[in-house]
Subunit: 318 residues, 2 copies
């Protein structure tokens, strides 16, 4: 039997994992379904804290995420994870390669992991990730983790949903340059050089540290560059401590509120723009618009002359 | 004395180069000024034929363009050129490096060359290039040439304004791969391997030919891959002949009309979307919107709840 939205939302609010899972699938397949949900829940708690874990391919992000989950569980925090794999054609909770190791948490009812591929609608992924975090929040999770490789602007947009961003690098030649090119230097709140048993880790850490320091002359917060071997649980405690310190700093300085407000406003913007595009699409289906197109094609009118008319059509359509 | 738009447009229609130049500067600095122009001219002739010359940096595009201009002048065709230099911070008819050699046409009153840098507003460049071509058309030019390097989607959008696209490559290792990556394989109507005195030209030509043939199983038009040494005027006549053949094919098959109609519709789209963004910006200045933002920041409302309200505000604003 298919459960109604109302039932699912009730279930979500009373900590039912099946309902959480179903609603996540729903916002994943149709981004606008979050509207119904937000309009139906009693209140969005706004209590969840979101950690982004990112970096170039092969930096060991999944292993690190897995270890961070363990540490946070030891603090008795409830955790929701969105693991994004832009190269994967699968969506909807599939078990993806590296993600397998995260499955050790699958019996822990205080951890919820959703792997998300991104075939097709990369543009919508940032919004659906943000919706998933809202669902985690309503469900009562304390921490959300977004794990994603950064390949371009889209993934940068996704990772910017986070309250703190951990940039993971490995001591390969050129990793610092790759990070710079991908815009990772700008978004990192904490940097971690993973697989530090390989040569060059200290050197890379110093390089990153120097680059970060150039931008942080008068900052109240000093961005740290840590080293780790996530696989052997070395340096992960320090990372979690650093995340927690950063959180405290963000909260006490008012930075977190500012960041979140900015995010809400940009979310409103995105939603309004999307809606306007929809209105335009609807308008294109009207006879009046189709008639304009014919005139355009026959060279009777130029596009410039039609703009006002189309805008008026959109405004009249309700 | 500053001349009025009306005067400038009159001048444009009666073949006054100074007026052309001033109006080009006007659409370059303010994309919306083409609206006034289109609304004031008697008729857009829609007679100009646009050739795009593109390729990776260092392929000799300027030299080739220069030679093509010479050949077209020999056919007594009037030519307007938009040379785009995305790396240059200069705009507005500056003489840019390689372009110097094109200046040999500067005394020819049937050739008009405008170099365009692209600092900042790359998004608007495609539209302002299309506006410049409209001005050339009204001025009475027969041929427009757009010359640009392709570094990303923006330049691809610009070059797509062309009725035929000439992709210029040089026989360096990896040039074919670079072309593929940049999306040049998809947009080329004619390919030319320039600097063919260097080794590997024939090999590259065969490679490109093979790649093109894979996509052209049942096509009526067989895309040609030519070789040339533009500097020594070798192969340029063949290129011009090929462009003219392609034009004939496009015109007789109805492809040109189809292409241009598609372009007009996408232009209308772009303009409407731009206008909608402007309307949104205006709405953001209203007291009602600012009040919403305050509620959003105080956590009293979620972005999802506000979307409808913002859309209604936009629709009411006239």
């Amino acid at each position: 039997m298919k459960r109604s939205y109302k039932d699912l939302i009730k279930g979500l609010e009373s900590n039912d994992r099946v309902c959480l899972s179903k609603l996540i699938s729903s916002v994943e397949s149709n981004t606008s379904s979050i509207f119904k949900i937000v309009n139906s829940v009693k209140k969005i708690p706004n209590k969840i804290y979101t950690i982004g874990i990112t970096g170039p391919p092969g930096a060991g992000k999944s292993t690190l995420t897995n270890q961070v989950i363990k540490k946070l569980r030891a603090l008795d925090l409830k955790i929701g994870v969105v693991a994004i794999d832009p190269s994967s054609p699968f969506t909807g909770g599939a078990v993806l390669g590296d993600r397998v190791r995260m499955q050790e948490h699958s019996l822990d009812r205080s951890v919820f992991i959703r792997s998300v591929g991104s075939r097709g609608d990369l543009g919508g992924l940032s919004y659906s990730t943000s919706s998933m975090i809202k669902l985690f929040d309503i469900f009562g999770m304390d921490i959300a983790i977004i794990e994603t490789v950064v390949l371009g602007q889209t993934e940068l947009d996704i990772i910017k949903i986070s309250d703190s961003v951990v940039v993971t690098l490995v001591p390969e030649a050129g990793d610092s340059i790759q990070a710079m090119k991908a815009g990772l230097m700008e978004i990192g709140d904490i940097f971690i050089v993973n697989k530090a048993d390989r040569g060059g880790a200290e050197k890379l850490a110093r390089e990153i540290d120097y680059m970060v320091s150039l931008k942080q002359d008068n900052a109240q917060w000093k961005t740290k560059v840590l080293t780790a071997q996530a696989e052997n649980d070395i340096g992960v405690d320090e990372l979690v401590t650093e995340i927690m310190s950063f959180r405290e700093y963000e909260e006490s300085s008012g930075l977190l509120i500012k960041k979140r407000n900015k995010r809400k406003i940009s979310e409103l913007n995105t939603l309004v723009e999307k809606r306007l595009r929809n209105e335009l699409e609807k308008t294109k289906e009207t006879a009046t618009f189709k008639d304009m197109v014919i005139k355009l094609e026959n060279g009777l009118l130029e596009p410039e002359v039609l703009v006002d008319k189309v805008i008026n059509l959109i405004k009249k359509n309700n």
